[in-house]
C-alpha cells in the first residue's frame, strides 16, 4: 500500500511540475501581451484631452459618489471616416505583401540550396544566414542608407561603370523600403523553409524521376507541394512584422511611403492622440489575427482528415 501512496504522491508532484512549466509561457504572455493589450484597448475607447495622461479616464466618479464607466467608439468611427487610415492600411498590406513575395522568391532558392548541400557546409551556410542578427537591426538599416543614398555605394558603382551619368534616387523611395524589408526579413523566410526542405525524402524525387518526371517536373510535383507548410510559415513570419514595420519605412522610405506603423507613431508622438493611435493598433491587430486564425483552423481541419 505504502508504495502506491508514494507513487501517487510522486505523480501528483510531477503533474504540478508539468503544469508549472507549461504555465510559464502563458503567464509571460498574460503579463506582457494580454495586459498591455487590454490597456491599449481601454485607451482606444477614451477621448483625447490635454492632460496627463492625454485621454479621458475609464472610470469616473459619479455625481452620487458611485462609479460610472466612460467609453466611446468615436476613435474607431474616425478611422473609417478619414480615408488616410484606410489608404495607409491598404498601402501597408501592399508593401508587406510585395516584400513577402520577393523574400519568398529570394529565400526559397537559398533555403533549397542549403538543404541540398552536404552536412558540414550546410551548418556553415546556416550560420551565415543567422550572423546578421548579431548586429543591431537599426545599425543594419542605417548602413543601407549609406549604400542607397545619392552618393552612396550603388550610385558610385553604377557611375563608375558608366551605366548612368546622374545618380539615381534610391533612398527615400518605396524601392528602398522593399530592399530594406527583404534584406531584414530574409532569415525569417529561409529558416522555416530550410527546416521543411531538409526533411524532404530524396527517394520521393527519385520515384518521380523513375516514373518519367524530369528534374523540374519532380520539383513542381513533389518538392514544391510538400514545402507549402514551410512557405506559409515563412510568409507569415515575414508578412506580420512587415505590415507593422516602422523603422524601415521611417529611415529608408520617402515622405509618401505610407505605412501604418508610421501613422501610429505620428498619432502617438506628434499629435499626442493616444486614443486614435490605440484604435489604429487594435484594428491592425484584428487585421492580422483574423486571417491567421482562419488559416490555423483550416490547417487543423486538414490534419484531422488524416485520421485513419
Amino acid at each position: 500500500m505504502s508504495g502506491i501512496l508514494i507513487n501517487n504522491n510522486n505523480s501528483f508532484r510531477e503533474n504540478l511540475w508539468r503544469h508549472f512549466i507549461v504555465a510559464i509561457p502563458y503567464i509571460w504572455l498574460l503579463l506582457f501581451f494580454l495586459a498591455p493589450f487590454v490597456i491599449v484597448f481601454k485607451i482606444s475607447l477614451a477621448d483625447p484631452i490635454i492632460a496627463q495622461p492625454p485621454f479621458t479616464p475609464f472610470f469616473n466618479e459619479g455625481k452620487n459618489g458611485g462609479i460610472s464607466i466612460y467609453t466611446t467608439f468615436d476613435n474607431f468611427f474616425y478611422l473609417f471616416q478619414d480615408s488616410l487610415y484606410f489608404v495607409t492600411y491598404l498601402n501597408s498590406v501592399k508593401l508587406a505583401f510585395i516584400a513577402t513575395v520577393f523574400t519568398l522568391l529570394i529565400g526559397y532558392p537559398i533555403a533549397y540550396g542549403i538543404a541540398r548541400s552536404p552536412q558540414p557546409i550546410r551548418n556553415i551556410l546556416l550560420l551565415l544566414v543567422v550572423i546578421p542578427f548579431w548586429i543591431s537591426f537599426l545599425l543594419r538599416v542605417y548602413s543601407w542608407m549609406g549604400i542607397l543614398k545619392t552618393n552612396g555605394l550603388i550610385n558610385g558603382f553604377l557611375l563608375w561603370l558608366g551605366l548612368i551619368d546622374q545618380p539615381l534616387q534610391l533612398l527615400y523611395t518605396d524601392t528602398a523600403v522593399y530592399i530594406g524589408m527583404v534584406y531584414s526579413y530574409l532569415p525569417y523566410m529561409i529558416l522555416p523553409l530550410y527546416a521543411n526542405l531538409v526533411k524532404l525524402d530524396v527517394r520521393l524525387l527519385e520515384a518521380a524521376s523513375d516514373l518519367g518526371a524530369k528534374r523540374w517536373q519532380g520539383f513542381l510535383d513533389v518538392t514544391l507541394p510538400l514545402s507549402i507548410p514551410g512557405i506559409i510559415a515563412g510568409c507569415l513570419l515575414v508578412f506580420i512584422p512587415a505590415i507593422g514595420e516602422y523603422v524601415i519605412p521611417a529611415l529608408l522610405g520617402g515622405a509618401d511611403t505610407l505605412m501604418i506603423g508610421r501613422v501610429l507613431f505620428d498619432e502617438f508622438f506628434l499629435n499626442r492622440d493616444w486614443p486614435v493611435a490605440s484604435a489604429v493598433a487594435i484594428v491592425l491587430l484584428l487585421l492580422l489575427v483574423l486571417p491567421i486564425v482562419y488559416f490555423q483552423k483550416r490547417q487543423a481541419q486538414d490534419n484531422s482528415e488524416v485520421v485513419v
Partner: protein, 366 residues
Amino acid sequence: MTINEKNYIEIKGVSKNFGDVIAVDNVDLAIKKGELFSILGASGSGKTTLLRILAGLETPSQGSIMIDDMDMTTMAPYDRPVNIMFQNYALFPHMSVFDNIAYGLKKEGETKEIIEEKVQRMLSLVKLEGYDSRKPNQLSGGQSQRVALARSLIKEPKVLLLDEPMAALDKKLRQSTQFELMDIHDQLGITFVIVTHDQEEAMTLSDRIAIMEQGQFIQIGSPNLIYENPESKFVADFLGNINLLDADMIENDQNRILLKCKALGGQLSLSNAHDFNGSGQISVALRPEKIMIQKEFPSEEVKNYVKGVVEDFGYFGNLSIYRVRTESGEIIQVSKQNRDRAVQSIKWEDEVYLSWENKNLMLLGE
C-alpha cells in the same frame, strides 16, 4: 510463363565506387526475359547499388548495361523502360492513391480516359478497388506496398525492380504477399529483379538467385541448385542451416574420395560425383534435415552413423531441431519432421544415433 533463351538484361563489367568504397565490383550478369530474378545479399553487399544502377539512379563507374538490346548505361531514369519499387515505397504523401498510381501515365501525357481505365485495372490487379481517394497515411503497410507495386507497374515497364519488397511487412502478410507477387509476375510476364536480404523470400519467389557479397556475385543459379550445391562455404552457410565440419582429404582420384572427418566418426569413402578437386583441409557440409536421429541402435543397412548426446533442442511444432554433441566433441544440428502426433520422445541428455547417406554430403574447399 515463357522464358526466352535470349538475354534480356545484360550487365557487363559494371563497377561502382563511392570514393574509396567499391560498392559493386566488376559484375557480369545476364537475365532472361520474363525471369523472376533475385539478388540476395547481406546489407552492404552492393545489391541495392546494383539495382539503383539498373534504375538509372546511379551511374556505373565502369561497365555497360543493356536492356532488350538498348544501351542503358547513361540513360536518365525518366527515359528508361524500367521502374523501381522502393524499399519503403516512397509514395507521394500529398497525393491520393489514384494520383500516386497515375503519376507515371500523367508524365507520359496520357489522356484522362486512358489514365482512369488503366489505374482502375491496376487497382483491381493489386486488390485495392475503392481505395482511389485515400492518402498514403491512411493505408496500412500491406496496402501501401500494393499501391507502390501498382505505381511501378502502370507504365508496363520492360523490367520491374523491387528493393526489399517485403521487408516492411510482418511475417504472415509477407508469405501471402509473396504468392500474390508471383501471380502478378505470371500474369504480366514482366521481368522482375528483386533485391533482398531475406533468403526465404528469395528462395520462394525466384527462378534464379544471385548471391552477392562485397560487390561481387558468389554464385548464381536456381534456388534448388544453390541450396543443394553451394560452391563455397559462404554460400552454404548463407542459405539455410548447415553443419560445416572439418575434414582431411586422404585420397582423391577421379572416381573415389577418401577422407577423414572426426565429427562424422572417422573415415568416409565417397564417389566423386561433382568433380571435387580439393585437397588437404576441406569442409564437409551436411544439411540438418538430411540427418536421421534416433535413440535405437541403427539397423544393419545403415552404414554411416555416429553416436552423440542431445545438448539442446527446439520444438517448432512442425519440426524439432536438435543440437547433438558427438563423441568427438563437435556439435551437429539435426532437424526432424514431427510426422506423428506424439509426445516428444528425444530429450536433453538422451543418447542418440545420427545417420546419413553419403550422397548428401557436400565437399567444400576453403
